[in-house]
Amino acid sequence: MTMRDNQLLEMIERYLGGEMTLQEREEFEALRKKDASIDVKMAEHKDFTSLIKQYNERKKLETRLNAIHQEIDVHTLKEDLMAHPSWIVQMWRNHHSKISVAASVAILAILLTLFITGDLSNKDPRYIQLKREVDKIKGRTEQLNTKTDKIIKDGKANGPTINAKFKGTGFAITGNGYIVTNFHVVNGGDSVYVQNDAGESFHTKVIYTDPNNDLAFLQITDPNFKNLGPIPYTFKKSKSDLGEDVYTLGYPANDVKLSPGAVTGATGFKGDSTEYELYIPINPGNSGGPLLDSKGNIIGVINGKQTETTGVGFAKKSNYLLKAIESIPGDSLSKALSLNTKNTMANLSRTQQIKKLRNYVFMVKVYNQ
């Protein structure tokens, strides 16, 4: 018995569409077993009809994309993005052999000068990053002290019993456990703990780093951590002016210290426009601390000081902090990261501000084996 093509097609469509009764289905499946060409026809039909569907979907998608595209000012965008060959390029094209010789001589001369003056090493001796390298003996004593304190206090130990290798400061950006510090503080560490004003340590995870801006973001992952409540400060988007009264709270020692100061420059070390220059007494351990203005706005993150001139420090400007926060990939965040927009410190005196602030500033302890 040969079946007519249109009947077979109808059966295939009803079969694929799940419209057959149980009995029809069994019969059709028996037929497929007997005649292998039915399966081939079925596959071809499926491919072909899915192509009709795909054509339709593609047309719809193209319509959607074209509608979006119309909203872009392509012309202006193009002007901005074209690499215009400048007169320098023109000159290069015409005279590159002569320029090459002159340039090599100049480069040699510069290298020689840099080599002689010692500027070639990556570490500029006139600048230091302010993480605190904890020496072993001091560390041990301190560890013993903390341990004793802990035993006296509540008998339970938090944090590893090995010595912290580096210490710095960090501060909360949300109440639910996200903290920012400097990249150079946590770089190279195996585990990072933060310790609050009350001396409690919490384990954290480094969730994002922005080495360019010397920033690192931590999330407290410790089950003992309780939400800090709403952050009392906000993050300033605009730039701060020279002469602005500022201060930072940090851990250059084992308890929190205040350093008052002023913004003295719109650019940081060697003219770095992403930083402020400050006149402020800071020390190793202050790195990663918040820089606040008198209204309780975060205007920067402390990250270094000059060694030649006493009292000159640097802080990464807060808009770079905000940009870095925006670039944290969504999948690195297990909790919401929404920044506080309500400043509750604006009308407080500095002593009252600090009372609030100290609950949100942490000592960052970095361990490695």
């Binding site: 249109n6 097609l9 054509y55 959607r64 909203e71 872009i72 965008l77 193009k78 993005l81």
Partner: protein, 189 residues
């Protein structure tokens, strides 16, 4: 670049979930986020803005289908993936148009090897445009019957009423004839 233009860059997972849920706003965010990157690539490598639009839309379609198939791995960044596909498509097009001077093209981002995927997309794309041509040549009422039945999943009963066929069998015969014609038009190209 993107900061300058105040474009909001959606996170990769937001895009994937949005596309799976047919979100228009996410598609728009995705599109606006990376078009400047591709425009920069094309206009600085012998192309113009219309070509940038074509290449970019093709890459978005490749990505869209990949996400819909469920095989976009988060190990590669969307941005890198889009750039790599556009770069590959543009290199091919430059060669086809004999505008390719040889040597390296000017790059602005990192890129991944995506040759095979682009190849597969182009094969599929060819089939789809052949289908478009075949449908154009099909004529009425076949075109509408095919669209109703295979694109919009309308029932035979509906189609029957729309075209005033006196009984479902007539409609079925008509549909069968139309499908045969469409196949013929498709395969003879």
């Amino acid at each position: 670049m993107n900061n300058q233009l105040n474009v909001e860059i959606p996170s990769d997972s937001e895009v994937i979930i949005g596309i799976l849920n047919n979100s228009d706003s996410v598609l728009k965010k995705l599109y606006l986020a990376y078009f400047p990157m591709v425009l920069q690539l094309i206009v600085n490598n012998n192309g113009d803005e219309d070509e940038a639009k074509d290449i970019y839309q093709e890459a978005i379609i490749v990505l869209y289908n990949k996400i819909k198939r469920g095989d976009f791995e988060l190990s590669s960044k969307l941005k890198t993936y889009i750039y790599s596909v556009c770069r590959r498509l543009w290199l091919k097009r430059l060669k086809q148009m004999n505008r390719y001077a040889g040597g390296d093209i000017k790059d602005f981002e990192e890129f991944l090897p995506v040759e095979e995927e682009v190849e597969r997309h182009e094969e599929r794309d060819l089939q789809i445009s052949k289908m478009g041509e075949a449908l154009k040549l099909l004529g009425e009422p076949c075109k509408t019957i095919m669209e109703d039945f295979y694109m919009h999943n309308r029932s035979m009963q509906d189609i029957c009423e729309r075209f005033g066929y006196t009984n479902a069998d007539n409609a079925k015969t008509q549909k069968y004839k139309c499908l045969q014609r469409l196949k013929k038009l498709f395969f003879q190209q």
